[in-house]
Symmetry: C2
Subunit: 108 residues, 2 copies
DNA sequence: AGCAGTACTAACCTTTTTGTGTGTATGAAA
DNA sequence: TTTCATACACACAAAAAGGTTAGTACTGCT
């Protein structure tokens, strides 16, 4: 019945995950990118109505640095840029599923 | 191949979960309580060496309000208090497992 | 010529989260 | 009597996260 405790160190897996996708927005952004193939900034703004433009850009930038999303610059003018989930990013699907599951089982 | 997008509203499941177990410490505390039956404050401090006493107490208090942990006061003096995971709290196990899984698949 | 749309950057400010340090009640042990 | 340990509370400070506003460069539309 008992599970082994995770040793809480400077770099335990829980903390790694929190650093990658912690915060108010990253998982929400990833979820939209997982379910939409490719999205532009303006489309993400519509899908996530209450995020500020600054946070959206900022989070996309750090997600790209973490290699969880790709940024495709079409080099057109006026600028056209698309965002896509990466393979690593797609792993967040299971995590999100579990969060949804947790929320549901909590609420009943 | 595509998943349905979660509609991002004031209360979507991702946000519910973030409110319950978001932040730097809650999941770490829950994980220890899941794997230890019952723990006192002083024991949690040893298991989570870098948490401050204030944060530990504060987080335990909000976890109790959310009914994710139980607080058992033995009414002794000097005070003796134990913390236990609740049924609802135990649901976090799957979430933590997924976070561990996510961190591992990210790192390879 | 003037305005709108795109994908940003930068400065600044507010709110939230996290941390530090001190104080309290109690009884038992030294 | 002084000291210790427990499980806090409280005031305050620092740091991190998030938000607001303005501005840029370009071009197409009217």
């Amino acid at each position: 019945m008992k599970n082994k405790p995770i040793e809480v160190t400077a770099r335990c897996p829980i903390r790694t995950t929190l650093e990658l996708v912690g915060g108010k927005w990253k998982l929400i952004i990833l979820q939209q990118l997982i379910s939409h193939e490719e999205l532009r900034l303006s489309e993400l703004k519509v899908l996530i109505p209450d995020i500020s433009e600054k946070m959206l850009i900022q989070e996309l930038k750090t997600l790209k640095i973490s290699d969880l999303v790709d940024r495709i610059n079409y080099g057109e003018v006026p600028p056209r840029v698309g965002y896509r989930i990466t393979e690593k990013g797609r792993n967040a699907q299971l995590l999100i599923d579990e969060m949804v599951h947790f929320a549901r089982s909590y609420e009943e």
